[in-house]
Amino acid sequence: MKKILTLSTALTAVGFAAAAQEVTVMSWGGAYTVSQVEAYHKPFTAETGIKVVSVDADNPATPIKAMVEAGNVTIDVADVEYADAIRLCDEGLLEEIDPSILPAAPDGTPATEDFLPGALTDCAVASIVFSTVFAYDTTKFPEGPTTMADFFDLEGFPGKRGMRKGAKANLEMALMADGVPADEVYALLETDEGVAQAFAMLDKIKADTIWWEAGAQPPQLLADGEVVMTTAYNGRIFAAQVAEAKPFEIVWDGQVYEYDLFVIPKGAPNMEAALEFVKFSTDTQRLADQAKWISYGPGRKSSGALVGLYQDGVTEMAPHMPTSAENLTNALASSYEFWVDRDSELNERFNAWLAQ
């Protein structure tokens, strides 16, 4: 009896020690989280023995602010958009990450040169390039909309639209649909007239739009027939197209692309494990591996060559990437300089507009 007790106590102690070695990663849910679990979390646990707990949020940047300000940080790593990474860093809500600790490329190129331009900042390491595009249901429109302007054309393409509930990407798309060239969008949005022009464009479809918040929603809305076309993160549509064989088609015209980055909130409970996780997940092979699961471009140059087929073994990934040449004919790189500073006021305006 005594032996059993000792044994079970010892086992419990081992259990506690193992449980202490874990890292909590907050991401965007759905197909995107699945790709991270497959490409990063599982191999990380296999190699280091550190358990990865995955939690989801509509936008992981918002809980970080609330957590740090309330002094109750429960996550170690978060996956956020570029403007949010910069802003959170500016506000002292993130730990700084020294880029020199990141692993070099296989050919020895240091990380600072291997990452795409701007993919490393004081507090963040980019993992992927993703894009906000719009997609439609091919059973509703066999000919299909082909340009951003078609998304705002209710007469030519009748039916409900889906858009993300927020100002970002929507304002840019509205201006591009109104004929503004991609390289003039942000200069115009800096002016009051430009913002008014964008909202006037959104006014056209406001009554027929369903506003989504989580990235997993738009493919669902399309599949349910609640909308005939919707803006979405390109990887989500790809996952529905290929993995679930849904009749969806992406329109790349007017896409708005940017980085998603890993950050560590200030006061993360498992700092060391968090840094290990970021180092591990952003090496050349892992970033290339993620593209096996979802159509987001890797943040490292050296990963590009390793990107091959989707996990089904037949689908070539390259044409589905936001950065592939034929998808970039009329594309806009999201400007973090613009959104870092204008995010709160434009969202305030957006909310007032939405409620009116």
Partner: protein
């Protein structure tokens, strides 16, 4: 023990009743009662502490936050001191600009410049970037600082900006209440209405009150006959029916709301059924969700038990012979209902209506899920400012106004109907 002597020499002194040990009776009684009260108090102390910690303190903090925000004053000490020394309307001199630049540089170093910019941006939209970009360039700024800052951005000379900075240099301010009422201060400090494209809260308060009243009315109309049926049926049958009322009541709120989404969607159960029956065409499916209709339908269903239960508890003990007596004395069934039955159920109507109304004024999850843009209530905006914009002071001011509104309604109810008439069960 209090032993009273009413006869004999020392018990009566100067006409006062005293105890055996000579204390005046009044004092001795008070003493004994005080001990009993202390014991009673000890019994309720846990509850009292619980209420203070989980209710009074957070509400106090919330009210405090709605008038206190030190995002600017705590991080910009030098310029705040300059504002203290000068009076409103004083043009900023070179010393002011120097203090401002020093503060911006320090705040950028401490990574608090974003907090400062955000605080000013609450009052004057479009100014956050002024601070953050100045923070990034703070090291390159050289005297004379006025020219240096104006070179960076001409807005630094704007009197309105300086007026706002002066007002936020004090941590205490009523401006969040102004913002919550769609008001703002102009450059002279006068209260004016907010620009039209920013007015949102007044409309949302009205919408919240109106929808809550509508939902309360719908609940009453639906619940009254149900409660009556439950009350007049034999107990065995009514208990069975009561399960049907209670089952949804015990089901998770989220589950009920998502079930409504399945029912109400454009490709959902109700629309599919109507199309199958030929009531509506496939192309003209009815939009019942992502608008006010969705909020009203789902909330009415979810809040219905809160109306049925108090009504039932009031109707059950009503003696049916009253209505029979009225009928036998010649009243029509309508008059008997109106003059005899209805007045007896008033305490239940009052309780149910108050309960449903106050619950729906603060409703949040259901409108967020099925309300779309037009079905959002004020709580959704409070949640937005709590979780997304992190303007906790504004969220607190909005919540305080909502609380005040509910308290006023409660007071009105007490004046008109009387709170002791309330019967919850």
């Amino acid at each position: 023990m209090v032993a009273i002597e009413t006869s004999g020499g020392e018990g009566l002194r100067g006409g006062l009743l005293t105890t055996a040990d000579g204390k005046p009776l009044k004092q001795a009684l008070a003493h004994a009662q005080a001990r009993a009260r202390r014991k009673a108090l000890l019994l309720v102390v846990p509850l009292l502490a619980f209420i203070v910690i989980t209710f009074v303190v957070p509400i106090g903090q919330l009210l405090f936050r709605s008038i206190h925000n030190d995002g600017f004053s705590a991080n910009m000490p030098q310029i705040s001191a300059w504002f203290d020394e000068t009076k409103a309307g004083d043009a900023p001199d070179e010393a002011a600009y120097a203090a401002l630049v020093a503060d911006i540089a320090a705040a950028a170093e401490a990574r608090t410049i974003g907090v400062v910019g955000t605080r000013v941006n609450y009052e004057l939209s479009g100014t956050r970037s002024l601070f953050t970009s100045a923070g990034r360039n703070a090291e390159d700024l050289e005297p004379p600082y006025r020219e240096a800052l104006l070179d960076l951005n001409a807005k630094w000379g704007d009197p309105q900006l300086w007026g706002v900075m002066r007002s936020v240099s004090s941590a205490y301010s009523a401006n969040f209440y102004l913002a919550a009422l769609d008001l703002a201060r102009d450059e002279n400090g006068d209260i004016v209405r907010a620009p039209e494209d920013r007015r949102i809260y007044g409309m949302l308060f009205m919408r919240t009150l109106w929808l809550s009243a509508l939902i309360t009315g719908l609940c009453l109309i639906l619940a009254y006959p149900v409660a009556h049926l439950l009350a007049v049926l034999p107990l065995a049958k009514s208990n069975l029916l009561m399960i049907l009322v209670l089952l949804p009541f015990w089901t998770s709120l989220l589950v009920r709301t998502t079930s409504w989404m399945v029912m109400l969607q454009e490709q959902g159960v109700i629309n599919n059924t109507m199309v199958a029956l030929g009531l509506v065409g496939n192309e003209s499916r009815i939009q019942m969700m992502y608008n006010q209709a969705g909020t009203i339908i789902a909330m009415t269903h979810i809040l219905l038990p809160f109306m049925i239960l108090p009504l039932y508890s009031v109707m059950r003990p009503i003696n049916p012979s009253y209505v029979r007596a009225a009928r036998s004395l010649g009243a029509t069934s309508w008059t008997a209902f109106r003059r005899v039955y209805l007045p007896q159920t008033l305490p239940g109507i009052g309780a149910g209506a108050l309960l449903v109304f106050i619950l729906s004024v603060g409703y949040y999850i259901t409108p967020a899920l099925v309300g779309g843009a037009s079905g959002q209530l004020i709580s959704n905006l409070i949640a937005y400012h709590m979780q997304d914009s992190l303007n906790w002071s504004l969220a607190a001011a909005l919540a305080a106004l909502l609380l005040a509104g509910v308290l006023i309604l409660y007071w009105l109810y007490d004046r008109l109907i009387g709170i002791d008439n309330l019967k919850l069960g």
